[in-house]
């Protein structure tokens, strides 16, 4: 099985029914994508497949069609994506465990709607659980990132 992840090609030997999440984490070592529930209920495992947000815990390897982007591909500490920078400016994270998924969902939202309303944010982000309750800052950061992306 061949995958393109963050612009790099990988040959994967895991069983075809292995969820993408575990391929990323255990086979490739991209551990930024997190396991929270395994049943598409928490969003911690969110990645992009051809720009669309996908719960990687529920996507079997043999059904992956398209290029994958993970949190590591979005930006790095040395070269932050605007959304990550905004997440830092707003001090969004607490325990941080859900935040890769939050950032990926937010990035997908902002790539389709450049000025999301609160309602758009509600809809796009409610599949991402945060047990630490960072929601107020997530909302603020998305609004802020939207205006920064427009200026960029």
């Amino acid at each position: 099985m061949k995958l393109t992840i963050n612009g790099k090609n990988y040959k994967i030997s895991a069983e075809p029914e292995t969820p993408l999440l575990w391929v990323l984490r255990d086979e490739i070592g991209l551990t930024g994508t997190k396991y929270g529930c395994g049943i598409a209920m928490c969003g911690a495992c969110t990645v992009h497949v051809d720009g669309q947000p996908v719960r990687s815990c529920s996507l079997p390897l043999d059904q992956v069609e398209g290029e994958i982007t993970t949190i590591e591909g979005l930006g790095t500490p040395e070269a932050l994506n605007i959304i990550q920078q905004t997440w830092i400016d707003h001090q969004v994270a607490q325990c941080g465990y859900c935040q890769s998924g939050q950032v990926m969902s937010a990035a997908a939202l902002l790539s389709t709607i450049d000025t999301p309303t609160d309602k758009d944010i509600d809809e796009a982000m409610s599949g991402n659980l945060c047990r630490c309750g960072t929601y107020p800052r997530i909302r603020a950061a998305i609004h802020d990132a939207a205006s920064k992306l427009k200026d960029a």
Partner: protein, 748 residues
């Protein structure tokens, strides 16, 4: 230590037998600096909290970073006195060591309310340092990290700074008093500078002052101001390391499947089919279930599902109904645990209450078991080889990890290394050792090979140590618009017995957490009695963010609202008239102003308020709600808190909001139920939590009238459930006496 502890003090009572029996000398003598053990030649450790080498200055923040931002604030305490910028230091958790024991953890257990700052009460609190030190527990909990570290870590920074100044003085042949420091440098009167890194080797031989002077607050440059969190970049880029993310060469992946029946073992298992599945390396019996070792987590998970286990049935209490009966039956003399409050003559007032001028109110409340449901399921990585064990784990209790590892591997402490990683939430769950013990046992079975143990969310949900289910009964008498008597009784399993029992410590005396925030509230009521009953332990229970206050505030503050509304009194005015503690008075007054309490809301909207003092912090909250066609909407939340000294205001506000949201999840939808001796919930589809669209805007006011500094990880939580219930009563006339609320109310 268990034995010494048992003989030496009683938590929750006044006795501290023979603190001096340990010997003043050995008490005064500090635990050795654990950093000295593993220093490279170029490294200098001036105190257990400061490590300097060529790469820079590292501050040890030896508490669990599980989202509270504690690493940043702890490091700020040292950095302030050391005179370095926070951005210029590295911050690590550091090793497991008694040197990092928590001196504040037992203070909340004394028999005086935290509002009592009399000499006697303060002496009792100070005494608690003695058993705490001998217990040597490096533990994060009870919102104690900041009060414990506040003086200790500032002194560590100040002492290190003095040593560096003395080293520079020697080098330059100047008087220390003529030298200054700034940004990690010592500065001579003529402008010459030496960096702390250059000076560190020279400072090694300098004796540290024991009691260095601390800066006055007015001179603070870092403390008191909102800081950028040290972990924020890692946590925004997926690069922060949780134990879940540790990868070692040739590592294998394990999972467990445990008997879902409470406290029951396994008769036998059949893994014939599972052993043939992809990637499976080993399947073994482990305690009350099996462990699967495979080449990745998912192969381990799916093989575990295919193992046929013959489970023992649960021995007792096989349903929520039976458990509820048992809690109710515990309101009896045989189960009486404490009566920390008994003022006036409650019995007499009730006997006299017959005439129409007085109102008698009665009620019963209940709350269910709750899971912690941390975002990161329980996991650990362990590697046993060549007579050494390394374990990477997100733990709130690193010194206990060492003890468990010693017992299982028979290795000496010096051959055991605990790497405490970031934690994807803790909330009390990561003070437990169950998953740690399993990881070490599996590492022993796989000796030579590193093992990552990951619990599935399902195992995590069904094998938690839950917030106890609890009940309360109250009776109250009001006369002439004033409360003349309250009798409040609460019944719950003992968290202290259950939790401490699991680590082999038994603590005599009452469990102060059963009555926590029920007996010690700053209300002056002439006849006031609070009795706590200890129900048997049914499900294993543990510390859950804010512990006993999480249920008792709901009981106490719903009761007060019932009393207020029955007597036509304004809930805030009624409380203000009774509160006898200035900082508490001020938070209620502040939240009243902040929320425009006196200004009526339009039809279809209402507000409710509640107050709770827990972990020394008075907190008042007001919530506004609104009826919509789709259900009840939370519209706005206001909170006022008093932590004494606010070290990092932005972080404090974040913690209060976090606690409110965690508390709302519990109040609105949180419930663990039992059927057929098993926990019925298994994942977020049946144990959900607040989602972004449900969370309203919030405003938090921080006050500083409290005479002591207190931590804020938990105190924001308790008032929100009663505030919401009280708002619902104001809106609909329906009184919420049981949680969760979504059983009777539709929320959007």
């Amino acid at each position: 230590m268990g034995k010494i502890l048992r003989r030496s003090f009683l938590i929750g009572s006044t006795a501290i037998a023979g603190g001096v029996a340990f010997g003043y000398w050995s008490y005064k003598n500090p635990h050795p600096n654990p950093l000295q053990k593993s220093l490279n030649p170029d490294q200098t450790s001036l105190t257990p909290y400061v490590l300097i080498d060529q790469s820079g200055i590292t501050i040890i923040a030896p508490r669990a970073e599980m989202g509270q931002g504690v690493h940043t604030t702890l490091a700020a305490l040292v950095a302030e006195e050391l005179d370095v910028a926070l951005k210029d230091v590295n911050i690590i958790h550091g090793p497991a060591s008694k040197a990092y024991y928590n001196a504040a953890i037992l203070k909340e257990g004394i028999s005086k309310p935290s509002t009592d700052v009399s000499k006697g009460a303060e002496r009792q609190r100070a005494f608690m340092d003695i058993p705490a030190k001998f217990l040597g527990m490096q533990v994060t909990g009870g919102s104690t990290s900041i009060p414990d570290a506040y003086t200790k870590m500032r002194k560590a920074g100040a002492a290190a700074r003095i040593a560096l100044i003395k080293a520079a003085a020697k080098e330059w042949n100047e008087k220390p008093s003529t030298l200054k420091t700034a940004n990690g440098h010592v500065i001579a009167p003529d402008g010459r500078t030496l960096s702390y890194q250059e000076l560190a080797p020279l400072a090694r031989s300098i004796k540290l002052p024991r009691n260095p002077a601390l800066k006055p607050k007015s001179a603070w440059k870092i403390l008191g101001k909102s800081q950028r969190r040290h972990d924020i970049v890692g946590k925004s880029t997926g690069t922060a390391l949780y134990s879940m993310d540790v990868r070692l060469p040739d590592m294998v992946y394990a999972t467990v499947k445990m008997n879902p029946h409470i406290d029951a073992g396994m008769k036998s298992f059949n893994a014939d089919h599972a052993r043939t599945m992809a990637g499976v390396q080993k399947i073994v019996a482990l305690d009350n279930g099996i462990a699967v070792i495979a080449n990745n987590s998912w192969n381990a998970f799916r093989a575990a599902n295919e193992v046929d286990c013959d489970w023992e049935p649960a021995a007792y209490h096989t349903s929520s109904e039976e458990i509820e009966k048992s809690i109710l039956n515990s309101f009896a003399a045989d189960f009486k645990d404490s009566q920390f409050k008994n003022e006036g003559n409650v019995t007499k007032i009730f006997e006299e209450t017959r005439s129409g001028e007085n109102t008698l109110l009665e009620g019963t409340y209940k709350v269910p078991y709750l899971a912690h449901a941390t975002m990161e399921p329980m996991n650990a990585v362990a590697h046993l080889r060549d007579g050494k064990l390394d374990i990477w784990v997100g733990t709130q209790l690193p010194t206990q990890v060492v003890k468990e590892a010693e017992a299982i591997t028979k290795l000496k402490e010096k051959n055991i290394t605990v790497h405490t990683t970031y934690m994807g939430g803790g909330f009390g769950r990561r003070a437990e050792m169950d998953f740690v013990i399993q990881a070490i046992k599996i590492a022993k079975i796989m000796e030579g090979t590193p093992v990552k143990l990951v619990w599935s969310r399902e195992e995590d949900m069904r094998h938690d140590v839950y917030r106890p289910a609890a009940m309360a009964k109250f009776k109250a008498v009001t006369k002439d618009g004033k409360i003349s008597a309250i009798d409040l009784q609460v019944s719950a399993s003992s968290v202290v017995d259950s939790q401490m029992g699991r680590i082999g410590i038994s603590i005599p005396g009452p469990d102060s957490t059963i009555a926590q925030s029920a007996w010690d509230q700053p209300y002056a009521i002439p006849n006031y009695r609070v009795t706590a009953y200890k129900a048997p332990i049914m499900l294993p229970v543990g510390s859950w963010r804010s512990v006993g206050a999480s249920q008792n505030a709901f009981f106490q503050e719903t009761m007060l609202d019932e009393i207020a509304t029955a007597g036509g009194m304004d809930p805030i005015a009624m409380r203000l008239a009774m509160i006898n503690h200035e900082p508490s008075y001020k938070v209620v007054e502040t939240v009243s102003k902040l929320s425009n309490w006196d200004k009526p809301l339009p039809a279809g909207q209402a507000r409710g308020m509640a107050f709770c003092l827990s972990f020394g912090v008075p907190v008042a909250q007001v919530i506004e709600i609104e009826q919509t066609p789709d259900g009840l909407k939370l519209a706005k939340i206001f909170a006022a808190v008093d932590v004494g000294t606010a070290l990092d205001p932005a972080n404090i506000r974040a913690q209060v909001k976090s606690a409110i949201i965690y508390g709302l999840s519990a109040a609105i939808m949180g419930e663990i139920t039992i059927a057929d001796g098993q926990v019925e919930q298994s994942n977020f589809h049946d144990y959900d939590a607040m989602r972004l669209y449900q969370v309203p805007a919030m405003e938090v006011a921080i006050l500083e009238n409290n005479p002591h500094i207190h931590g804020i990880g938990e105190p924001g939580l308790p008032p929100i459930a009663p505030a919401l219930g009280n708002a619902i009563f104001a809106l609909t006339g329906e009184r919420i006496r049981a949680l969760p609320m979504n059983k009777s109310i539709t929320f959007i």
